[in-house]
């Protein structure tokens, strides 16, 4: 474990300032007594308490992330630190004061004094601990938040990168360029598909959900573009029952699955194959299924970019939208292909 000693020193100085303030407050209420003893006691108790709690917390494995031990160990550490601080601090302080002869006048009043100093130690210890605990916690939360932000931004960028994958983009443009001369009406149709695809891709991150009908239209845009490129090597079926057309889905949820099927399943296969996207209702569940007859799971692992990013991304979106009510199942289907099945609650 790595301890940031500079940080510790800063905390210690703050603790000392706090201890001096407590001693000064004590002196202000009892000006008839000397200022020296409370300062000595206060500094000793504070030093020991600080050392036990602040350095001790580093020894707990559970504090590695948040800086504080979880649950009982944390509370016991604070209680132990305050108790040890008081006992050790006062006994060292007693000796120290005896040397300077500061205690001579107080003999009769000892029990009273002890009670009030225990109270002061406990209150000051708790207040100090609480202060450091909460500043620590807010720093931790802030760190967490920037981290989460960074993750979200990275994911968004990666998603965009995977959807505007340069190979797909430039090959599509090359096809378009070829069509402009040979078959202008088809070129226009292809360009329209591409515009719709790009528009949907670029706005998907800002959009929550859209109807299943729109989802299937976007898939068709993409599959049509790929059909122009792959020719007879790609066949596809989109199966959306009309009664499910208005069901809301997270925008472009199925896109990464269809793309995976193409880039890892059908594109590497010499004969190509077919891809089927199907929506159906099973009781209270809406089931969306993407299956292909490509080269399957095992061989797909070897192709570049097959890092499971698409699947992870779909899982994450499902979890954010539906929590535990949604599931994504990915299996190698019969005849070498793959099948991804998504289930989430049907909206009545």
């Amino acid at each position: 474990m790595k301890i940031d000693w500079f940080e510790k020193l800063r905390t210690y100085l703050q603790v000392l300032a706090f201890a001096l303030a407590v001693a000064t407050l004590q002196y202000a209420f009892m000006p008839e007594r000397p200022y020296g003893p409370p300062v000595v006691y206060s500094l000793l108790i504070a030093t020991i308490t600080w050392a036990i709690i602040d350095i001790g917390r580093e020894m707990f494995p559970s504090s590695a992330e948040t800086g504080w031990p979880h649950g009982w160990p944390g509370i016991l550490l604070v209680a132990g630190g305050i108790a040890a601080g008081y006992l050790l601090g006062t006994s060292i302080g007693d000796r120290f004061c005896a040397v300077f002869g500061w205690h001579a006048a107080d003999i009769g009043n000892r029990e009273n004094l002890a009670r009030s100093s225990i109270l002061i130690t406990v209150l000051a210890g708790m207040a100090g601990t609480y202060y450091f605990y909460s500043s620590n916690k807010s720093a931790y939360l802030e760190r967490k938040m920037t981290e989460a932000h960074r993750h979200a931004n990275e994911a968004r960028l990666k998603l965009l990168e995977s959807q505007l994958e340069p190979h797909m983009l430039f090959n599509t443009l090359a096809n378009l360029r070829a069509l402009i001369n040979t078959d202008p009406p088809r070129a226009t149709a292809m360009l329209d598909r591409m515009i719709a695809y790009l528009r949907a891709t670029l706005s998907a991150s800002r959009q929550g959900t859209h109807p299943l009908r729109a989802e299937f239209e976007r898939l068709q845009d993409y599959l049509e573009l790929m059909t122009v490129r792959m020719g007879p090597r790609l066949r596809y079926t989109l199966d959306l029952p009309p009664e499910l057309a208005e069901q809301p889905v997270p925008a472009l949820l199925l896109q990464p699955l269809v793309e995976n099927s193409i880039t890892h399943g059908l594109e590497p296969k010499v004969d190509g194959g077919s891809i089927t996207v199907q929506a159906r209702r099973e009781g209270a569940q809406l089931v969306l299924e993407v299956s292909d007859t490509g080269i399957g799971l095992d061989a797909g692992n070897g192709t570049p970019g097959g890092t499971g990013f698409g699947l992870a991304q779909v899982r994450e979106r499902l979890a954010t939208e539906y929590g535990a009510q949604a599931a994504l199942n990915f299996v190698a289907a019969g005849a070498g292909g793959t099948r991804a099945t998504i289930t989430f609650p049907y909206q009545a």
């Binding site: 340069p166 430039f170 443009l173 070829a178 001369n181 490129r229 090597r233 010499v270």
Partner: protein, 274 residues
């Protein structure tokens, strides 16, 4: 032979429209060029190139099954060098949608490179270069060597990039049924690609790894292990002798193993008497 008057070409491109477009652009840029055929994948391209023996190959880099680079490398290996009908190895032009191989580095070389969508002006340049190469192709062997060197470079480039700085692998974890067997890399005599797997051979045993050779290779110490074939990586110190058969092919004999390993033409440069 008609090819002495009319240069011939073969196109390998899996996207039908792009193959057509390239053919049309070539007809404009180089009317004398006769396109003998269009192949839709690497394997078909290899077979057709061997059968038709064209002067120029236009190979798409990313194709289903065997890609353009691998197809060219495999073709170089089986190309009839010094036969009675031995024709020089074709000029190579790779076509790709996206530049992942630092195009500029190769523009001055024996192998050329085209980006999709193919621009007529750029194609014109390629045509001029190929025509020049075909015209002064007398010292064919030298040309072939340069082509081999470049293919080697291209094949190595994308794999080496992401995992360059890490330390060489010391231990292999081979699955044996449900168990995992630890195999020290120091004991390995050679690796052999087998479909999606890699066979690992030590003096006593044979193991199977699920990692493709392409991913394993960058993790091996390049001083200790040499790639001698598309699918073979051998411990250099284990090589006992290198012999050339009647067909001019190189074969390795290993210490501690009865295996005879073929050396691909691409890697024949590793073995030269001092």
């Amino acid at each position: 032979m008609s090819s002495t008057t009319h240069p011939t070409a073969l196109i390998a491109e899996d996207e039908p429209l792009l193959a057509q477009a390239l053919q049309a652009e070539l007809a404009r840029a180089w009317p004398a060029l006769q396109v003998l055929g269009v192949a839709g994948n690497g394997e078909a391209a290899m077979a057709q190139a061997l059968a038709l023996q064209p002067d120029v190959l236009f190979f798409d880099i990313r194709m289903p099954g065997v890609g353009g680079l691998e197809a060219a490398a495999a073709l170089a290996d089986v190309w009839p060098q010094d036969g009675p009908q031995g024709k020089p190895f074709p000029a190579l032009v790779f076509v790709t949608a996206y530049d992942q191989y630092a195009v500029q580095a190769f523009e001055a070389q024996a192998v050329d490179y085209l980006l999709k969508p193919v621009q007529p002006e750029r194609l014109q340049k390629t045509v001029a270069k190929v025509q020049l190469a075909l015209a002064k192709r007398a010292p064919g062997a030298m040309n072939f060597e340069a082509t081999l060197a470049q293919l080697r470079h291209l094949l190595a480039a994308p794999a080496a990039a992401p995992t360059a700085p890490s330390a060489p692998l010391r231990l292999l974890q081979a699955s044996v049924g449900a168990a995992i067997r630890m195999v020290p890399v120091d004991e390995v005599l050679y690796f052999e690609a087998a479909d999606k797997y890699v066979r690992v051979l030590t003096a006593e045993h044979e193991h199977l790894l699920r990692t493709p050779l392409k991913e394993l290779l960058p993790q091996l110490d390049p001083q200790a292990f040499w790639q001698v074939h598309r699918g073979t990586v051998v411990r250099a110190e284990a090589i006992e002798s290198v012999t050339r058969d009647e067909a001019g092919k190189l074969w390795l004999r290993l210490r501690g193993s009865p295996a005879r390993l073929a050396v691909s033409r691409l890697y024949a440069h590793l073995f030269k008497a001092m």
